[in-house]
Amino acid sequence: MTTPCTNNRLHLFVDGELSATEAEAFRQHLTRCSECESGLRDLLQLELLAARALGGAAPVAESPEVVEPVTAKVLPLRARLQKVYRTALPLAMAAGLATVFIRFQAPPEIPGEVWLSSADSRTFEARLSHPKADRFLPYSPMRGTSHATEMLPLRPLAELEERHDFRGIAAAYALRGDWQQAEAFLGREAESADKANDQAVVALSRQRYEEALGLLTSALRQNPNHAQALWNRALVLRERDLLDRAAASFDTVASLGEEGWSAEARRMAAELRTQLAEERVRWRRQVTDAWLTLTGDAPWDAKQLAQRPVVARAALYEAVRTVTSKEGVEALLPLAKELDTLGGGSVLQDYVRQVATRDFAARAPLAQGYAGLLRERETKKDATALLESLRRSGERDIYFGALVHTGSAVVDATALSALKGFAEGTPDPWLHLLAEREGIRRELAAGHTALAEKQLMDAMLTCNGLGNIVPCMELN
């Protein structure tokens, strides 16, 4: 006879290898056995890691349908709908739309309901190119899902197919949340800026942001004033947290003077700029507070600071650049270690140790000058003088900080190459991204918008891949 604690019982339970009765007995046992409970906690953490690291599906006793990962509250309805469409519509498609079609004497009018003409709000934020599907309506994501319950009338669809208006069919499906069908029909549409735009809307709905940006860039190359593509580009950039670029794209939409959309675009741009400004203020304040803690006299706890790894990392760089003694730098080592534990490797510890070997008789005045820059006490003239002495000194990390802080590299090519040179000499991924950002700002200033936005998206993707240990928002 096996007792519940032995014979891999816990593993069999978690792997769904027990019978219903055995599983029930084991669940009862779990509530009384602290050993199995803590075993379960560890095992589930391990299995979640496996799912995140190896990306596979977990074994399940039954085989439930796959559900799209969307917000929990919206999900049940959508899941149900998708099921309806998966069964009902492909059947109709298999029968062939053309056979459903009955020929009329005159080309029939396509009823507006195909594109939800009686709707009083939009169900998604993106804009489709089809004029009937691009009426301006207030956006209300929560109410909107109810449109999807309306079945698609098949006769007009067949008529559209006859006319080779695949973009119109795709729009009808997209408005009802059936992106799979929308994508399939778009595939049959002839190449155009409109097609690329609508494909981008599909990619956007599936969170394939890089693909969406590529399609939109192609649409805008064909037609630089494509209102829907400009609008959708703003959405893609916003999804990647590039709020500043998103606002700029909304500005362009606003300038086109479309009824309804223009005002909405202006409002969106203003909102994004407010958000960004508020976030920047909040971020600066958090980093400054942490920096003052690190460089102040009161004791601090590295573990506690590392609970906010992004803020702590930014503050650590500033602290290393501004302390004026070897002892001061060495005192920062515990935080560097704690943050390296989260990020992997030893970049921050190596940085701290390397700075500790510097000659502080020469470094201290520069560190103080940099601290003045951070407190914004220096005038523009002082800043220029400081940058010049930093350039001539060997304190390249402070020089790097000052260049980023003053944004000099955007206007000064020598400064940019100094910045890149320093970043390439360190293994710290965040410094690489910062140097890249300054280069991209330069591209933007030169008017190379599409290239710069592509690079920004890539940088943001790299940044997000680091796992929330560096301030990706700063890439704006």
Binding site: N8, H11, V14, D15, G16, E17, A23, E24, R27, Q28, L30, T31, E37, R41, D42, L43, L44, Q45, L46, E47, L48, L49, A50, A51, R52, A53, L54, G56, A57, A58, P59, V60, A61, E62, P64, P69, V70, T71, A72, L75, Q207, E239, T274, Q275, E279, D301, A302, K303, Q307, P309, V310, V311, P334, K337, T341, L342, G344, G467, N468, I469
Partner: protein, 185 residues
Amino acid sequence: MANLFNRERRRYEAFIRQHRPSLLGLARRLSARSSLEAEDLVQETFERAMNEFEALKDRTDAAAAAWLCTTMTNRFLDYCRRQRTESRGMPHLALVQEGVAQGEAQENWELVSTEEFQKAVERLKPHLRDAYRLHAEGKRYNAIAEHFNVPVGTVGSWLTLARRDLKDLLLPQVAVARERGATSS
């Protein structure tokens, strides 16, 4: 303010999108052959995450995942306790409350990155590694048994061994990292 609310909501939605699939996979395994709905378990977990989101959003991905896992495990254990007491007509035991930092299992696992995990899997003995990979891909015991031409019971013990070895490989690293952080502060 409306715009801040929107921004936070988008962040929260992105957070759900990132963690939901792996969490749901786990929930389905826990709720198999019971009256518990995996979707409910995950939804309850994310509702708690919403209350804690202010603190969670600044943590690393690994730390957020570990927190969600602990929270979901607690929800599951609550369910088991309720089942037990309901079947005996007793009021159910007090629910466990989550804070953002709690639980020994969570504290250890939140420092393990997915790369470290992948490296640890590489270091397993070949048959344990392959069996574990097949399992992670969603294969049942009998399918893995067929693949290696071994009895089903062997697969069970291989997986148990693989997990023990993974834990042995990963958790000492965490302990060392903590040790280094602690002694120098």
